[in-house]
Each structure stands twice: as C-alpha cells, then as structure tokens.
Amino acid sequence: MDFVVITLLNSVAYGLLLFMLSSGLTLIFSMMGVLNFAHASFYMLGAYFAYQISTWSGFWLGLLLAPLLVGGVGMLVEWHGLRHVRRFGHVAELLFTFGLAIVFEELVPLIWGKASVPYAVPAQLEGALFSLHGAAFPIYKGFMMAMSLGMLAALYGVLTRTRIGLIIQASLTKPDMVEALGHNVPRITMLLFGGGTALAGLAGVIGGNAFVTEPSMAASVGFIVFVIVVVGGLGSLGGAFLASLLIGALQTFSVTLDVTLQQVLTLIGLSLPADTNLARVSLVQLGPVLPYLLMVAILILRPRGLMGVRES
C-alpha cells in the first residue's frame, strides 16, 4: 500500500511537470493553430541555461533567470522566424519548428558537449521529505509539485483575472475583432509564444536535475508531450491537465511494477499462448508503448480528445 502511495505521488510530480510543458504547447497551439515541434527543445534549453547559471551563482538564480532567457529566445524565434513563415500556411510553420528542433538538438551538444552535464539538485532540497515504512519521498519531488502547482495557479490567475489575460483569451477565438479594437495581436502572439516557451524552460529547470540533462532529453520528452495534447484534446488546457496526470501515472507505474503481460491479462480472465514471446513480455517493456497506444486509441474512438472542442 505504501508503495502505491509513493508511486502515486511520484507520478503526480511527473504529471505536473508534463503539464507545465503541455500547457505552453496548448496555449501556443490555440493562438497559432500550429503544434510547436521545437517545444521540447525549449525544455532542454531551460535545463542547460539553468545548469550554466548554477555553475556561476547557484540554483536559485538559475530558477529565476533561465525561464526568462528561454522565453526571450522563444520571442526572438517568433519575431524573426515564425511570423514570416506564417504567410506560407500552417504546414510551413510546422516544418519551421521541426527544423528548429533539429538545429537546437545539434547546437546544444556543440556548446555543452555530447555527454550529460552535472546539473544537480541543490543541497537544501536534497534528502527525503517523509518516508512510509522505508519507502522515501524526496524533498525535490515535493518542490517540483509545489512549483508546478504554483505555476498552474499563476497561469490560471493571469488568464482569467488580468486584463492581458482577457485580451489573450479574446485573441484565441476572435483575433480579427481584437485587432479591430486596437490591440496589437502580433505582439500578443509573440508574448504568448514567449510565455509558452518560458513555461517549457521552467519545466526544464526543475526537470533537468530531477532526471538527466543531456542532448537527447528533448527527443525523449517531445513525443510524450504531443501525445498529451492530442489525448487531452488540441487546444484544451483542462484536457492537457487530465492527460498529463494520466500519462504521468501510466509511465511511472509501468516502470515500477514488475508484472508480465500474462499476469495483467489473467486479472481480466484472458490468457496468452504459454510459451510465446508475447507471454513473457513484461510491463516495463510495454511502458514506452502505452502512451502511443492510448493516443492511437483516443484518436480512433474520440478524435477530438478527452476534453477537446474541435476536431482538427
């Protein structure tokens, strides 16, 4: 039972981190109608910037500055790149972000090397927050959860309670009308892109040292974030939240449970031919497959996703 509680907490921490990534992606998608393929690259940039700053002046300054820097890079990308590609249509925009992801993935090892960098959890946050019969829950995971929830609350507050948030919400649905009312919609788009990438950067700052900061970290999380926004429903923040927790739980539990496929199927009264490879497949092996399986199933059964409104 304790094991389940700890794993559940771990999966919530991971799920909230995923939500920080997918919320930015969702906001950018709602505004521009384009999935940002380079989104996970900004997550990686966040981790590397934070590492670099932490070597000079410690973790806390990195926590503050790295997301802002990443947001700045994001705004530059929107301002000097995406904005000009927009006239060629959505496919060109999407491919532009696809190309960006390649460039970032090559540039980062050029600057910081191909191996992982020693970006560590700060000493104040090391150790266990509490332990249940020997199973410990690290402080840092708790810190991650607190940061994510704080961000989530701030995001909600900005979007619903402030003037700029209302203008953003209006421009998501009726950009022409907002423009006619005298607001600078291209600038709002740029700010939103910067905000979304800054969120990804923040996820990188707190995720980079919880996991590993290496050049392949963008690729490893990138597809998962896509799965989340598609499963949750493109453009739906609530859906992205639900799907983030779901995928987080799916991935955490499949890694920690030592069960074979045969044992799972026996629970629901099915059995596989005994001495085939399939019967020996363990849930750990199936782990990487599950999110994609969920995504394909959702797209076939409910193409607009869990909480999506529109279909494409």
Binding site: L35, G81, H84, V85, F88, H90, V91, A92, L94, L95, F96, F98, G99, L100, I102, V103, E106, L107, P109, L110, I111, G113, K114, F223, F226, V227, V230, L234, N277, L278, V281, Q285, L286, P288, V289, Y292, L293, M295, V296, L299, I300, P303, E311, S312
Partner: protein, 418 residues
Amino acid sequence: MTAPSSLPRQVLIWAAIFVIACVLPSLFRSGFLVSVLSQIAIMAVFALSYNMLLGQTGLLSFGHAVYYGLGAFATIHLLNGLGKSATPLLVALLPLGGGAAGLVAGLILGRMTTKKAGTTFAMISLGIAELMFATTPIFPSVFGGDGGFAGNRMAGKGSFLGLTWGPQIEIYWLVLFWAFVSAGLMFALTQTPLGRVANAVRDNPERAEFIGYDTRQVRYRMLVLSGLFAGIAGGLSALNYEIVTVDMLNAHTSGSVLLMTYTGGIGHFFGPVLGAAMITLMQTLVGGLTHAWLLYFGLFFLFMVAFAPGGMASVLSRQSALVKAGLWRCLLPHYALAAAPAALACLGAVGLIEMAYALLAGHDAASFMGTSIRLHTLLPWLGAASVLIGGIAGLKWVIGGMSDAWHQALSQLQGGKP
C-alpha cells in the same frame, strides 16, 4: 501549387534523368559513385511515394518510414526464406514483395489514419509510427532486435541475363529499373481521375465532398498506393545493403524523407527526386568532411522553409521561366551583388561552427587554408563572428534592391503571358 508543366518538358526531364543515371556510372568507373547513385535512386522512390501524400493529397505524415521499413523487412525475410533457391530472377522480383508488405500495412493502418486530414492525420501518423517502433523490441524474431537481419542476395546459383547481383553496378541497374518503373507508375497516377481528385481533396475537401467524392476514401487509396511504393523502396534498400535494422522505421527516417521531399519541392512531380539527390549527396559529401552536417542541414532547411517554401524545384522553374522570358539579364547584376555578402555570411557561420566542433572534439588548434588557428584565443572567434555579421549586414543592404528587381521581373513575366 504550381501548374503542371507541359508534356514535352516532362518527357525532356525523364530523358535527362535517364541519360544521367545511365551515363554517369559508365563514364566514371567508381564504386563510390555507383553506391551513392543507388542510394539516390532508392531515396527518390521513397520521396516520390511520400509526395503522393504531402504534395498530391495534402497529408503531412510523420510516420512514412513504417511502410519503408516493413517493405525492407519483408524483402529480407523473403530473401532469407528462399535461401539457396533464390535465383537471380526471383531476387530481382523481391522488391515487389516489399511493395506488397507496404500495401498491406497501408490497407490496415490507413483505416485508422485517413479518417481526418490536417493536424489529426499528422499526429496519428506520428503516433502509429512511434507505436510500431516502440513495439519492435518485443518481437525480436520479426525485427531482429538491435542487430537487425542480414541477407545474401547471391545465395542462389545461376544468372539472369548474365547478371548475378554480385557487383554493386549490377544491383544499381536493378535499383534503377525498379526506380523508373515506380516513378513511371507514380507519374501515371497523377494523370488518373484518382490523382486529380486527390488534388481536389488537398485544395478544398469540403467542395470535393459536396460534388460527391468520398474524401476519406480518396485519402485512403492514396495512402495505400503510397505505402506500396514506399515498400518497394524499402525492398530495394534491403537488396542494396543486404542488411535491415529497426532504424529504418524510426522517426528519424520518417523525418528525413519529409525533409528531402520538402526541400526538393512538393509542387512539382520531380521535386522529391531533386531533393533526394541533393540531400543524399550532401549527406555523403558534407558528411564525409564534417561532423556538423546535420546542423548545416537543419539551417539549410530553415532557410528553405522561410524563403523558398516551394522547394528547389520551384526555384529552378522560376529561374528558367525568367531566363526564357529574357528577364534574367536585369536580375543577374543583383544576384552577383548579393552573392558576395551571402558567401561571407556562410563563411563566417561555417567558421564558427567548425571551430566549435574542433573544440568539442578536444583539439587545441585547427587549420584553415594552410595556417594553424589557435582555438583558445579570442581572435579567431571574433574574426569569424565579424565576417558573419558583416555578411549579414551586406545582405540586408543589397536585399532591398534585389527584391524590387525580382518583383518587377515577376510582374513583367505574369503580364507578358496572355
């Protein structure tokens, strides 16, 4: 997309490609050239099959490698299954087995993917491709685990028309034969009602549906046929390399066929061929010179998306139209003027990237035009950066005049046509 070019010009391009493909290996008897040409021919078929989706039906797929990889695995399994009874004639027909695998995969997977176009299609194709790739370690008997499967195309005895498929040049002729057959069929498809309706579904699905076409059915059929040709390409690669690994169906392969097709040009039938040739050459030539080729390629791709969304084919056809109209003379001085700062900017960027790579590899010094550059001093970095900035500034300075002249020439060109 651009209008289809007139028929005589198409014939001319086919003939030119045929002559180049046949004459080059006979002219230079180099094994390296032949193997590069084989790879280009394989990739050209793969890219053409991809363009049936992206260019002709408007379906952006991130999982086309699935059909390519399955075709390759089917072919290698057939080859190994035949063993000693794999006569050269049977081996020559094996790519059809790969095509059949691609077709069947398309028939099954297409049911799920082609329900919707647009972002949904892109995402579901990505999801299915990732799903396939993630499942491969579970079935080592089919996908051979990390090592993949090796085969021997000369396992059987005898010869076919004097060919044993031993030397690379013989397999090149086989690849070329299938490449031309596939390309011919794909071209013929663009002229059929299905090919035309696919264009309509790409441009205006609502209207196509309103006229009475089942858009989903059209997308499905195009995807199945595209899977067939991708499978043939996979089969050819299995015969060419005699080894098939799971890397052939990963996201990287799907990405590179997308990049090839797009940089070549999705609006022209031969665009993907051009893209396949260009990128394969870049990969082998630049890849041999520097480790940074993927970075250069990414930057080149960004440049293409931002400035030439029609790809190389549309750039070439624009220029040839301008030359034909005699307008190129007014543009030439502008091109010449822009060439110098563009070259400077490239030089600066390449210098910075190469120095960084040399540093990353642990070298203290690099040589450039005979002189040794010390990498731990500031001067070479400042020099390269200032060359880059100077080049960009120069480009900014001349680009206004060039764009004016360009638009003037373009409007003259369009005004000149009745």
